[in-house]
């Protein structure tokens, strides 16, 4: 090697610095992976495991499985009720509506509530359940002699398909999932048209050098960073209070006027406002990525601005707009604070059927369950968190798929 005196022979120290940098980057990546794994582990750890359940009457004594009651003939269930309920309770139930005529699931619910009366007295995590089965069994025998210990999957089809309940064994997230889907739909219908139109105006029509344009642009970027609870306060003032006659459905007739403005419509529009700046920014970026040569080609043929935008810019930008919108919606899906402020209900057992209904949503449900004093609701919160994460994953993979398809088509 020819070594000139002007250059110090520092090659090895330069390489060493590079290696230190590389080690730091790898460490950073590793820590994020570890953090993510820890999150997943905690959720799964709580969503499955042994639970000790005490009953007033043990289903086993009657040769029944508490989870299989729906399979039994209604007559058998009615018979159980007649046998185990105090006579006056049985009579008043029968007077309400003849028990013999009621459907099986309803009778099963009555049997569980009034006869078996299950109560979860202790739960163990999945790790404990897998590794220390003997210890759990011994502990249960010693401390909870009357409890039945069984393995419970807190997240399962029953959990997804049941409404909210104060009984942890019967509680589900159907109401919350439906509420979240309604909110997403309303947010989409308000945020998308407004956001895309504003982005088209800002990119294709407005004079970019003008001070007003620059002011608007800067403010959109600021709005994207505004804490979500501020949007909640805005939604409370404007939609819940200010537009109460509309958001409560009062002006559309008395049918929907049972509640105040704390409805799905208010919540959805608040989330729509929340995603609006994100939709605008993402759409602007998608529009900006449309090559200028395409616009010139169209203008060169005598196209008007509207024809250029509608026929060329929007179709090419569409995958980008959709991807950006879905990612913005997935942020809204996880939002809790604005919904709390706008007035999501924490305990609702009926499904939302229209935009003027009261609502709850998955993050609200999770928050409410973690705030309960009984330990068992922690397991439900973990199960609901997994549900929320799966929904988010579905949304995001749709976005990835759209982007992939758009690349293929090019």
């Amino acid at each position: 090697m020819n070594r000139s005196p002007a250059f110090a022979p520092n090659l090895s120290s330069r390489h060493r610095k590079g290696l230190i940098g590389l080690a730091l980057f790898q460490l950073a990546t590793l820590s994020s992976v570890v953090a993510l794994m820890a999150l997943l582990y905690t959720l799964v750890d709580h969503a499955f495991g042994y639970a000790a359940i005490e009953y007033q009457v043990y289903p086993g004594d009657l040769g029944m499985d508490i989870y299989r009651l729906d399979d039994l003939p209604p007559e058998t269930l009615a018979q159980v009720l007649a046998e185990y309920l105090p006579p006056q309770v049985y009579r008043s139930l029968d007077q309400d509506r003849p028990l013999a005529g009621r459907p099986g699931p309803e009778l099963a619910a009555l049997v569980i509530q009034r006869v078996f009366q299950p109560k979860v007295v202790r739960t163990w995590s999945l790790t404990e359940s897998l590794l220390q089965r003997e210890r759990i069994a011994a502990q249960a025998r010693a401390e909870l002699p009357y409890a039945e210990v069984r393995f419970v999957d807190w997240i399962n089809a029953r959990f997804l398909s049941r409404p909210q309940s104060s009984d942890p064994l019967r509680a589900g997230v159907r109401t919350a999932i439906l509420g979240s889907l309604w909110l997403m739909a309303i947010a989409l219908f308000t945020g998308l048209p407004l956001g895309v139109s504003a982005a088209i105006y800002l990119e294709e029509y407005a004079d970019r050098g003008h001070w007003f344009h620059r002011l608007v642009q800067a403010n959109i970027h600021n709005l994207a960073g505004v804490p979500s609870i501020i949007y909640g306060i805005l939604g409370l003032a404007v939609f819940v209070r200010g537009l109460a006659p509309i958001t409560s459905g009062a002006i559309f007739g008395p049918a929907g006027a049972t509640v105040n403005g704390r409805t799905l419509l208010s919540g959805g529009m608040t989330l729509g406002l929340l995603v609006l700046p994100l939709v605008i920014i993402n759409t602007q970026e998608a529009i900006r990525a449309v090559p200028a040569s395409l616009r010139e080609a169209a203008y060169g043929l005598g196209a008007t601005r509207w024809q250029v935008v509608w026929h060329h810019v929007l179709p090419v930008a569409l995958p980008g707009i959709m991807t950006g919108t879905i990612l913005a919606l997935s942020r809204a899906l996880g939002e809790t604070a604005p919904l709390v402020v706008v007035g999501a209900s924490t305990f609702i057992t009926f499904d939302p059927s229209g935009p003027f209904d009261r609502f709850t949503a998955l993050p609200i449900q999770i928050y409410q369950w973690t705030a309960r004093p009984q330990d068992v609701f922690r397991n439900l919160a973990a199960a609901a968190s997994i549900t929320l994460l799966v929904l988010l994953l579905l949304l995001n993979s749709t976005a990835v798929y759209i982007r992939y398809r758009a690349r293929q088509g090019r």
């Binding site: 004079d207 203008y299 060169g300 043929l301 005598g302 008007t304 026929h311 060329h312």
Partner: protein, 258 residues
Amino acid sequence: MEDTAIETRGLRVYYGDFLAVRDVDLRIPRNRVTAIIGPSGCGKSTVLRALNRMNDLIPHVRVQGTVLFEGQDIYGPEVDPVEVRRRIGMVFQKPNPFPKSIYENVAWGVRINGFQGSRKELDDLVEQALRGAALWDEVKDKLGQSGLSLSGGQQQRLCIARAIAVRPQIILMDEPASALDPIATLKIEELMRRLAENYTILVVTHNMQQAARVSDYTAFFTTDPGRTGHLVEFGPTEQIFTNPKDRRTEDYITGRFG
């Protein structure tokens, strides 16, 4: 002098405060190929884009002077630039077909300009335009395929077909062959000669042999220190290349600079 297709009088183009083209007086003869040559940054393309108001689309561009087309100043207050661009078409440096089928590439411009004929008439028009651009035989069996599936030279001829489908009088070409290989370039040049029978062609080119081969008239622009974008000499191509009147033209075409 021959019949004039388009004429500029005292044309000046500013980018913000920067004067990119100054005081250009140019008469472009009808149904001829006119080449605009000159070193980089001399304002050739800017002049070309001033002739169909494409510069309007770029922020901070100002145009002064008049551009007479059919006896009317295209920068006049009652003139709609959209109509100007249909009648004065443009082909760009990089082939830029729409990401649509070959058929749609040609038919789109026709349709958006309010074409009222039947489907059959549109089909005929598309075929005519593709024949006019010497592309029909290569694509007639795959009109439904994407315009982007064609080779670079074919794409550029598709862009020419697209331009002539809306029946312009003038076609502006901004270095139409600079992104193509020599064989594709030759096809474009032959096409320009043929198109000159029905259209007025203005072509900006970096390639002096191309200008000599293809054009009837040549305009030479240059940029002196402190004096960008002015027209040095305009005349029949043969005269410009064999007997230039200005020493700067001679220096440029003999390759002494530029």
